[in-house]
């Protein structure tokens, strides 16, 4: 394995982590429309909290996908064709929620607003769940053939482990979203978000324990890479504990940062366990390794130069865009919400 190959494996992991940090709270806010808002005005306020950003956040997923295609074509091809049905429904969910922001704002009738509000909620629920399922299956191992194609049956995709993984990711996103709401809103919505988070954090810990147990049982993570796996796992738990502490002690920023870090930790755990593979085969001989899955050194070099130049610029203006919107959304009913 060359340094560039290693670097790009790390970068793909990083892109997915940033994606979950940013888009994770968008999903959470989308789900919370049906959990803490009591009327369309309140839903409007929740949406405003992520209005200017959700689209930019989603680009992290697109970049992760594009970068995977560019740096690991064999991984991209196996993963995306192998999880055809799962990814199709992820796309479907992303389509529904993506248009719902704009369509909801154009809807005049209450029914119209509700319809697109539901589309947002359902899309925001299904996307992280299915992503969780897919990533769990990915580390669990799939029936890969010698040419790198998955041909699995339903049980290979949907099973106890992957469902627990899906639920865990969904729950993490929901909590992350609630923490963003606490940060961005004031008044009743903020209080309800906090109340719900207080209930959900204990549930999350149960979920995490089950997930960790299954991870121990179903994967070779803790055998092959015990030190790093245990370290990351402990960190994940620690991050969640801090986020919970913030929830009970009214420390909004703290909760938000650490619920985001928890999500990043989960991605890190999975990528750490994958290494040095990119796809785990049920038959270990068919696993796809980093060193066999990448583009040429030349292409990786080009990509590295491009990333070194562009990523700081992207980060700079993205952060700037957050800074200029860094104020709370009005708690009062907005006048004449159309």
């Amino acid at each position: 394995m060359t340094n560039l190959q290693l670097l790009w494996f790390f970068l793909i992991g990083l892109l997915f982590s940033v994606f979950f940090f940013l888009e994770g709270f968008d999903y959470g806010v989308g789900m919370s429309l049906r959990l803490i808002a009591h009327n369309e005005d309140e839903r409007g306020q929740l949406i405003q909290a992520i209005g200017p950003h959700w689209d930019g956040n989603e680009v992290w997923l697109i970049t992760a996908g594009g970068a995977m295609f560019a740096s690991f074509p064999f991984w991209y091809a196996s993963l995306f064709s192998g999880f055809y049905v799962v990814l199709f429904f992820i796309l479907f969910a992303l389509i529904l929620r993506g248009v719902s922001f704009e369509f909801r704002s154009h809807a005049i009738s209450k029914g119209g607003k509700q319809l697109w509000g539901w589309a947002l909620t359902i899309g925001s629920l299904c996307a992280p769940f299915l992503l969780g399922v897919m990533f769990t299956d990915l580390v669990k191992g799939m029936p890969l053939d010698a040419s790198g194609n998955i041909s699995g049956s339903v049980g290979d995709f949907i099973n106890l482990f992957s469902i627990v993984g899906g639920v865990a990711v969904t729950l993490l996103c929901l909590l992350h979203g609630l923490n963003l709401i606490r940060l961005k809103l004031s008044g009743a919505l903020k209080q309800r978000a906090q109340a719900l988070a207080k209930v959900l954090y204990p549930v999350l810990f149960v979920g995490l324990v089950v997930f960790a147990g299954l991870l121990l049982w179903e994967t070779d993570f803790f055998v092959k890479r015990p030190i790093s796996s245990w370290t990351i796992l402990i960190l994940i738990v620690l991050f969640s504990v801090i986020a919970t502490y913030g929830t009970y002690k009214d420390k909004d920023v703290l909760s938000f940062i650490f619920s985001g870090l928890t999500l990043m930790g989960v991605v890190a755990l999975l990528f750490n366990g994958l290494f040095p593979r990119v796809m785990v085969g049920n038959n270990a001989a068919n696993s796809i390794l980093i060193k066999n899955a990448t583009s040429t050194e030349y292409t990786l070099g080009v990509m590295t130069i491009v990333a070194v130049i562009l990523v700081p610029i992207v980060l700079a203006y993205t952060i700037w865009s957050y800074v200029i919107f860094n104020r709370r959304v009005p708690a009062k009913k907005v006048v004449n919400d159309k």
Partner: protein
């Protein structure tokens, strides 16, 4: 494998065609609308006339609708290479991936971040700064076209690569960008995009003028649209001519099909305006011809013959004998290409004419457009024509490349994912079809309603359903 009488390959191809054609309704429209909005806002900054600010806000709303649908259908594009064309991805990844990743890093972030900023900050920045945001969006979306077309140009005309380890490997990134195909395809698409939005906007304005609503507003909008449309169409047609010269050399079968020529022509070659083509017997009837014209169009000379599809088929069979055997059939669907070309090129000429007429009759000195209802109707119909022209263009480009997915290197049949089943494809095809119908209908419905409500219904809102700038002073409680 066949399910319900359709082969897996056909299902995959149909799905690709459906998703890209649908996506490409919104891409050129959004690119062009960003430019038009930017132009309007810039006029406002320069002239300080409120009406131009109103225009930017109003057309910006329709732009945002289209942008939303464009974004969500765009994610499909990126995913489907891996999902449906995994062997293609393996073969092309070393070349295709880099432009795609750069497109995301350079273009998608720029447009999506600044679109969010632009939407919500009308009252927070100086007008000139605020206009800069929409220009950044315009640049972002135009640049995105450059990168994706870099990949497409490679598929039309592979350059700067070597074949090794069973795949195409990039030998020079600069070489990839210097592909001559790219430097006709990109301008053609981008000027086509400006033209598309310009005529769509002019068409929408014309319908409102027919109803005699908000005359000044729609009159001014119409004129901005027609100016951009006129320049855009002239440039699109000009570049289109260069493309023709190029495909005669690089993809002769595509060219012969767009002209419906089976047998080699005489020199000078006459140009067939219309004809009836029978792909089985290779007979062409009902010809209307213009003498010498094809030589003129193809070579810019009054002499020169053009090769027919039969000759080209033989030549290709020889050329690729070791790859695909000697009995491979290289014919591309002649009727689709012939008529697509006529519709596309015909609309190009039509746009120039209509824009010139519209600008002339609506000139400041003597504006008689309002009384020329026929012209307003014609302009109104131009709302739809560019979308058809774009689709026809892609039919030519993509169908004309058969049997190759990467010209001369890799066939479509080899590219499809081997493990995606026909049943799965039926499901995804049907569900995509359903949701596209829903999205398209909703988008048209909301645009129509925005149009009918007119600029006076514009509230202060720029975001999702608020009437106050959430971030203006005093609109929120600090705590």
């Amino acid at each position: 494998m066949y399910v319900l009488g359709v082969s897996l390959l056909s299902l995959a191809r149909f799905q690709f065609a459906m998703t890209t054609v649908f996506h490409f309704f919104f891409v050129p429209f959004s690119i062009g609308m960003a430019l038009l909005t930017a132009i309007m806002e810039t006029i406002y900054v320069v002239k300080h006339e409120e009406i131009y600010k109103k225009m930017a806000k109003f057309w910006g709303k329709i732009f945002l609708l289209s942008f939303a649908v464009g974004v969500v259908t765009g994610i499909i594009q990126e995913f489907q290479f891996g999902m449906n064309w995994s062997d293609y991805s393996r073969f092309m990844g070393d070349i295709f991936g880099a432009p795609l990743a750069i497109e995301a890093l350079l273009a998608f972030f720029l447009e999506s971040v600044f679109i969010g900023v632009w939407m919500f900050t009308w009252d927070r920045f100086k007008p000139a700064i605020h206009a800069l945001f929409i220009w950044l969006v315009t640049i972002g979306s135009s640049v995105s076209a450059l990168w994706i077309l870099t990949a497409n140009s490679f598929m039309q005309n592979p350059v700067a690569y070597r074949i090794a380890n069973g795949r195409a490997e990039m030998s020079s990134f600069a070489g990839l960008l210097k592909n001559p195909q790219l430097w006709v395809e990109f301008p053609h698409v981008i000027f086509g995009a400006f033209t598309t939005a310009a005529f769509a906007l002019a068409g929408m304005s014309a319908w409102r003028l027919l109803k005699k609503k908000n005359r000044e507003f729609y009159h001014k909008s119409l004129r901005v649209g027609l100016w951009v449309g006129l320049v855009g169409a002239i440039l699109t047609v000009g570049v289109g001519d260069l493309q023709t010269q190029m495909i005669v050399k690089d993809q002769p079968m595509k060219f012969a099909a767009t002209e419906g020529i089976y047998k080699d022509t005489d020199s000078p070659a006459p140009w067939t305006v219309v004809e009836k083509i029978d792909p089985k017997t290779h007979k062409t009837t009902w010809k209307v011809e213009v003498p010498k014209m094809l030589s003129l169009l193809t070579y810019h000379r009054t002499t020169g013959s053009v090769k027919g599809m039969e000759t080209i088929n033989k030549e290709l069979q020889e050329k690729y004998a070791d790859k695909l055997g000697t009995d491979m059939n290289y014919y591309v669907p002649p009727r689709t290409l012939f008529w697509s070309f006529r519709i596309m090129a015909g609309s190009g000429a039509f746009f120039i004419l209509v824009a010139a007429l519209g600008l002339w009759f609506s000139r400041a000195k003597k504006n008689t457009l309002q009384n020329k209802r026929w012209l307003l109707y014609v302009l109104g119909l131009c709302l739809w024509l560019p979308f058809i022209a774009n689709t026809c263009g892609w039919f030519i480009t993509e169908l004309g490349r058969f049997p190759w997915i990467v010209y001369g290197l890799f066939t479509i049949a080899d590219a499809v994912s081997p493990n995606v089943t026909a049943g799965q494809l039926w499901m995804s095809n049907s569900l995509y079809f359903l949701i596209f119908t829903l999205l398209g209908a909703t988008m048209i419905y909301f645009s129509h309603r925005t149009l009918v409500a007119g600029p006076d219904a514009l509230d202060q809102s720029d975001g999702y359903g608020t009437t106050v700038d959430p971030l203006s002073k005093g609109a929120f409680s600090h705590d």
